[in-house]
Amino acid sequence: MITMYDAIVIGGGHAGSEASLALARLNKKTLLITGNIKMIATMPCNPSIGGPAKGTLVREIDALGGEMGKNADQSYLQMKMLNNSKGPAVRALRAQSDKVLYPQKMQQTLFDQPNLEICEAYVNKLIVNDHICQGVILESGELIYSQTVVLTTGTYMEGTVLVGSTAISSGPDQQKPSIGLSQNLRELGITTFRLKTGTPQRLIRSSIDFSKMELSPGDGFIYHFSFDDSYFKPIDHEWPCYLIHTTEATKNIISDNLRKSAMYSGLVKGIGPRYCPSIEDKFVRFADKERHQLFIEPESQFSDEVYLQGFSTSMPHEVQDQMVHSLPGLEKAIIAKYAYAIEYDAINPTQLWPTLESKKIINLFFAGQVNGTSGYEEAAAQGLMAGINAALKQDQKPPLVLRRDEAYIGVLIDDLVTKGTQEPYRMLTSRAEFRLLLRHDNADMRLTEYGYQVGLIDTNRHKTFLQKQAAITAEINRLKTLYVNPGKTINDELKARNLNEINEKLSLFDLLKRPGMTYQLAMSIAKETRINSPEIYEQVEIEIMYEGYIKKAKKEAEKLIKEESITIPKTIDYDQLHNLALEARAKLKTIRPCTIGQASRISGITPADLSSLAVQIKSGKYNH
C-alpha cells in the first residue's frame, strides 16, 4: 500500500482549518479536501466570534497554538468585553467579525502553510480495512491514502435547505452538499442522526433607516484574543450594532402564516437547538411575550449587507418580506439573502474517544458540527484537538485530553463523548463546574505549556509566557511584604471612595482583599510603584481578591484529578465484572469510559458502581 499523506482532512470549515494547520505544523504531510476553496473558513451564520464561554474557547485555542484568535484579531469590526460587572469568571470578549476578511486571512494562512496541500473535491467513501481507516475515495472514484483521516463535514452531509414548503438538497450558502458519505459511515457501523439549524436574513444596509434603532457600540479597541498582540491592529472606527424589537404586526404576520413555515408544516425532521430557535419558535413557545429583541449586525466593510440577528426562520420568501417590513427602520429594507433552515446528518459523539478518534474505526477522527455541536468556536476547538491528537498518535505519543477543570475545551469534548447530545450543542458557562478556574483571562496560564509541549507554541512565545507568569507570582509575593498603616490621609481617601477605613497595619495583599478595592487604588493609597501591564495586574487582582473561592475550586478539582488518574483499560470486559447494576453495565459497555472520572459522569452510574469498578480494575483480573 502506498501512503501518500500522513493526514487527510475532509472539510474546510472552522474545524477543518484548525485540524489542517495543527497537523501540518506538527510536520504531518496533510491534504485538506474541500468542496470549494473560496468557501474555506467562511461564516455562514452570525458574523461574530466569541462571547460568553465561546470567547474563552477562542483564547484556549490560541493558548494551545491554534489560529482562530489571531485570525479574529485581524478581521474584527468591533470588540466588546461582555459581563464586565458580573465577575471575573464570566467576562467574555466578543468580536463582530468581517465576513470577507476572516475567511480571506484564514485561507492565506492555509495556503502559506508548509506541509499542507488543499484540493477541491467531494469525498464519497472512506477506505477502511479491518477497522482501520486508510484514506478516502473521492466522488470521481479516485483513491487517496493516508495514515489518518479527520472528518469535519459540518452541516454538509445530506444537507437539506428548507424554506416554506420547499426542501432542496443543498449545503449552506447554496453550496453543493456532501451526498453519500454519511451512508458510507452507517455501513461502517457509525450511527448518524438528523439535526437542524437556521440562519436569518441579510439586508442591504443602504435600505435601512437606522434612526429608528438603538445604537449598540463597541468598547474602543482595548482587547484582543491572541496572547500574541502583533496580530491586533486598531481600526479607524468600530462598526456599531443596532437594537430593535419586533412589533405587533410581526407577531400577527407570523401567527397568520405559521403553517407555511417548514418548522410547522412537518417538513423538518431534525432536532433544532434550544439556543437558536427560529422567530416562529419564539412566538409559539413564549406566546405571552409581546415582542422579541433583534440586532442588526455589520457583516463586512467590503459588503453592503447586514445580519438580522434573532430573526432566523423557515417561512416562504413572500412571508419573510412582510415580516422584515414590519420591523422598525426596516419598512423599506431590501432582503439580500432570505433566511433558511438547514437539516444535516451528524454522528452520535459518544462513538468517539476523548481524543475524538472513532471507537469503531481506528485512525478516523471527527470534529466540529458533524459531532452535534453548534458554533464556529466549538468547531475550531474540536478541529484543533482532533488535529493534535491525530498527530500525537502517529508519533506514538500520549494523547492530549484536557480535563474539565483545565479548559472549556475539556468540558466540551467530555460532554460530547460522555453524554452525547440530542440537539446542536452550544458552549455555555453554565456547563462548566469550574468556571472560576476557566477564565478567559488565564487561558494562557492554563494551556500554553501544553501547546508548547505538543509543539504548536514556539520557544519565543513560551519564553514571553514564562516571563508573564513569573511577573505575576513576583508581584503577588511583593504585595505580601508591603504594608499600609492606618492614618488620616489614607482613611480620608478610603472614606471619599465609600470604602471601609483601616484600623490596623495591613499588607497590600490583605488590603486588596477588601470589598471595592482595586490594584490601582491599593498602590496609589500605599504610594508604591505599580506594574503597568494590565494583563499582569489583572491576574494579581483576581488571584488575591478571589483567593478563597479559587482555593475551594482547586480543592474540588483535586478529587476530579484523582478520579481521572485511574484509567480503565480499553480491553476491560464489563460482562465479567461483579456487583454492577444492570443499567450501569449497559451504559459502561456503550460509552467505554477511559477513566473512573469519566465513568462517574455517565448518568445513572452510582458511587457503588464506581467503587466496584475501581476495585476490580485494580485487581486486574477482568481484562480479556
Partner: protein, 449 residues
C-alpha cells in the same frame, strides 16, 4: 464520587454504650475540626487521641474522644478520624448529620474496605470477601434508602430547589446572554432577600426534622426514681396493662421492664427501672446498674417522686443525676396528699394508682417533644440523617452566598454557593446536573440568534 470524604457509624447503633463514627477521605480532618471543640486537629500528630466536645454552633452535642490518623498508614490509606461517642441512636446520628452538613457523604456499604483495597491496605481476597457480603445486602439497603424521605418533604425540598434554580437561571441568563433585555440584571441587592427567604424556609425544615426523627425512632423514655415511689404502677397505668409487678415491697423491680406507649402516633419506648438506692443485694445492684445505663441512653426521663412524703437525699441525688436530660418530674401518689416541696421545677401531679393526672403528663410530653400543629398540618417529617445533613449543607451554602452579597462580590462569585445549595438539595430529589440547569435557562427565557 470515589474520593469524597465519607462517614459511617462503625459500631452497632443502640446496642453498645459507646459508638464510633468513622470518617475517611482527604478532608476528614478539616471537616471534623469544624465541629470539634478541643485541640486544633490540623496541628496534632498522627495516631493520637484527643478529648473534647462535638458542637453544633454553640450547642454541645456530646463529650467525645477523637482519634486522628493521617494518611497513608491508616485503615483506608486516607486521612481517617474516629469519634468515640456515647451510645444510643440520637447522638451518633446527630454527629453524622453534622458531618454531612459540613461536607461528608454517607459511606456506601463496605466503602471503607474498598478504599482500603484501592489504597493497597488490604489484599484482593480480603476485599472480595467483603464485597460479596455487601452485594448481598445492597438490594435491601437500596430499598430502605429510597424510602428515606417522606413524599411531602421531598416535594417541599423539590419546591425550594426549584426556587433556587429560578435564581440561578436568572443569573445565568445575564451571563450567557448579556444583551438579552427581557431579564432583570441580578445584583447582590436583588439576590439578598430571595436567598434570605430560602434560608429561613430551610431553617424551618431543619427544625421540624427533629420531630420527624422522634416520630420515626420513638422516644426512649426511662422511668426513674428511688424504690417504691410507684414507677411500675405508672408504667402499668400508662400502658393500661399490668406489665410490671407491683408490690408494697421496695425493690420489687430488678430488671428493666419495657413497653410502648402510643401517644397519638408517637411511640414512647417506656423503660421501667429498678429503684435507685444503695443496696447490698447483688441482683438489685445489677438492676440499678442497668437503670443507670438506660438513663444514659434515654431521650426523656420521667423522674418519679413520692409527693406524699418529703424529699430524701436519694431523690435529690436523682434530681442532680438527671439535671442535664430532658425530663419531666412526676409527683406520684397525689391521692395521698401533697407533702413535698419542689420549687425548682414544674411537677406533674398524678396518681398512678387511680390513673389521674395522666392527661397532664401526656400533654407535657407532647409539649416537650412533639409540636402538635405540625402533626395536624401533616407537614414534613424528615427522618433521615443524610437528608437532614444535606439540607443543613444547603443552608450553610446559602448563608455563604449571603456573606458574599454583603461583601459585594460579583454575581458569578455569589452564584457559586447558590449553585452548591442547588446541587446539594439535588442529592435528595435526584434533580441535578448541568442539563437540568440549561433546560431551566431555555424554558424560562426566550433566547437565540
Amino acid at each position: 464520587m470515589l474520593y469524597d470524604t465519607i462517614v459511617g457509624i462503625a459500631t452497632l447503633q443502640g446496642m453498645s454504650a459507646i459508638n464510633v463514627v468513622r470518617i475517611s477521605g482527604i478532608d476528614a480532618i478539616a471537616i471534623v475540626n469544624k465541629i470539634f471543640k478541643g485541640k486544633d486537629l490540623s496541628t496534632v500528630s498522627s495516631h493520637t487521641v484527643h478529648y473534647g466536645h462535638i458542637i453544633d454552633g454553640n450547642t454541645i452535642i456530646d463529650e467525645v474522644l477523637v482519634s486522628v490518623f493521617f494518611e497513608p498508614k491508616t485503615f483506608t490509606g486516607e486521612n481517617v478520624v474516629e469519634i468515640s461517642t456515647h451510645g444510643g441512636y440520637l447522638i451518633p446520628n446527630k454527629i453524622v448529620e453534622l458531618l454531612v452538613k459540613n461536607g461528608c457523604r454517607i459511606a456506601e456499604n463496605g466503602e471503607f474496605s474498598k478504599r482500603a483495597f484501592l489504597n493497597g491496605r488490604i489484599d484482593l481476597s480480603q476485599a472480595e470477601s467483603i464485597m460479596d457480603v455487601i452485594s448481598a445486602q445492597t438490594e435491601t439497603q437500596l430499598r430502605l434508602a429510597n424510602r428515606g424521605l417522606h413524599g411531602d418533604v421531598k416535594a417541599l425540598v423539590g419546591e425550594l430547589q426549584t426556587t433556587i434554580l429560578d435564581i440561578i437561571a436568572k443569573i445565568e441568563v445575564n451571563i450567557d446572554y448579556p444583551e438579552y433585555d427581557d431579564a432583570t440584571v441580578m445584583t447582590d441587592n436583588i439576590l439578598r432577600p430571595d436567598i434570605k427567604k430560602i434560608v429561613s424556609r430551610l431553617s424551618v425544615i431543619l427544625h421540624n426534622s427533629e420531630t420527624g426523627k422522634v416520630i420515626r425512632e420513638g422516644i426512649k423514655t426511662v422511668i426513674l426514681g428511688k424504690p417504691n415511689v410507684g414507677k411500675s404502677s405508672l408504667l402499668n397505668s400508662l400502658l393500661k396493662e399490668d406489665k410490671a409487678i407491683v408490690t408494697e415491697i421496695s425493690g420489687t423491680t430488678r430488671d428493666l421492664v419495657e413497653g410502648d406507649w402510643n401517644l397519638g402516633g408517637v411511640i414512647l419506648n417506656l423503660v421501667d427501672t429498678a429503684g435507685i438506692r444503695n443496696t447490698d443485694d447483688a441482683v438489685e445492684k445489677i438492676g440499678i446498674i442497668k437503670a443507670k445505663k438506660a438513663l444514659s441512653e434515654a431521650d426523656l426521663v420521667l423522674l418519679v417522686l413520692d409527693q406524699s412524703r418529703s424529699l430524701t437525699t436519694e431523690d435529690i441525688d436523682l434530681l442532680t443525676l438527671t439535671k442535664n436530660k430532658p425530663r419531666i418530674i412526676v409527683g406520684n401518689k397525689i391521692d395521698l396528699g401533697k407533702h413535698i416541696d419542689i420549687k425548682l421545677e414544674k411537677t406533674i401531679d398524678v396518681s398512678a394508682k387511680n390513673s389521674t393526672g395522666l392527661d397532664q403528663l401526656e400533654a407535657e410530653v407532647k409539649r416537650l417533644f412533639i409540636d402538635e400543629s405540625l402533626l395536624k398540618e401533616n407537614q414534613l417529617m424528615l427522618a433521615n440523617a443524610r437528608h437532614i445533613g444535606k439540607i443543613g449543607e444547603a443552608k450553610t451554602a446559602l448563608e455563604d452566598a449571603l456573606k458574599a452579597c454583603e461583601n459585594h462580590f460579583p454575581v458569578d462569585i455569589i452564584e457559586i454557593d447558590i449553585r452548591k445549595a442547588w446541587e446539594v438539595l439535588g442529592e435528595i430529589t435526584g434533580e441535578t446536573g448541568n442539563e437540568v440547569l440549561i433546560h431551566a435557562l431555555f424554558s424560562r427565557f426566550c433566547l437565540g440568534k
